[in-house]
């Protein structure tokens, strides 16, 4: 480790925020940024991720779940679960799973996977902001 890296590590502030913000961010898209005081960005991220989820479900896309003997479903489930509360609501409360014979199935799946992956990036962004690595 170079001296520059060690100095940078010392500057990183581990705090309560560094745990809560990413958790909130995962639970509800944009909530982590709202907690960190980035109101405009929080609202924009919330709308973008939610729009992707709504379009994905309207097109009957696949909301992945882990299936035996299909290892790639683990990756798909991980990606979709990134959307947090919407995933829980869709899967467990509304029993949504998508419709494989629907015309928009492939497109819808792309939207749902993207919504989850975008929110995973937001979780990492919250973490970076909370520890002082980003503004």
């Amino acid at each position: 480790m170079t001296s520059r890296e060690s100095t940078e590590d010392e500057r990183l502030e581990w705090s309560y925020e560094a745990v809560v913000a990413p958790l909130l961010g995962w639970l509800l898209p944009g909530a982590g940024h709202l907690y960190l005081g980035r109101r405009e960005r929080a609202a924009a991220f919330f709308l973008i991720v939610l729009a992707a989820v709504v379009v994905g479900t309207q097109l009957d896309g696949n909301l992945y779940r882990i299936e035996p003997n299909r290892p790639l479903t683990v990756l798909g489930t991980f990606a979709c679960a990134g959307m947090g509360l919407p995933y829980v609501v869709l899967r467990f409360l509304l029993s949504y799973s998508g419709d494989i014979v629907a015309r928009g199935y492939e497109y819808g799946t792309a939207f749902l996977l993207t919504a989850g992956l975008m929110n995973w990036l937001l979780v990492l962004d919250c973490w970076d902001i909370a520890i002082g690595r980003k503004e």
């Binding site: 494989i100 993207t114 975008m118 962004d125």
Partner: protein, 63 residues
């Protein structure tokens, strides 16, 4: 269901997202949004046009 409309909507959402995530100043966000959006939409149309002569092949079997 319009394929081009869905592609454009997808490009719009993803471009907005990354412009907000990667840039802080408004002008830089706008610039990155335009770059990403045009890359995806124009790139998608160009790729589709290049693939046009190739046969689509048999339909994917249902799992």
């Amino acid at each position: 269901m319009s394929h081009v409309l869905l592609m454009t909507l997808y490009a719009f959402l993803v471009s907005c997202f990354f412009a907000l995530l990667w840039r802080r100043e408004r002008a830089a966000q706008r610039r990155l949004f335009i770059q990403l959006f045009l890359s995806m939409v124009v790139g998608g149309i160009v790729l589709a046009w290049l693939m046009y002569p190739f046969p689509p092949g048999p339909p994917t079997p249902l799992p």
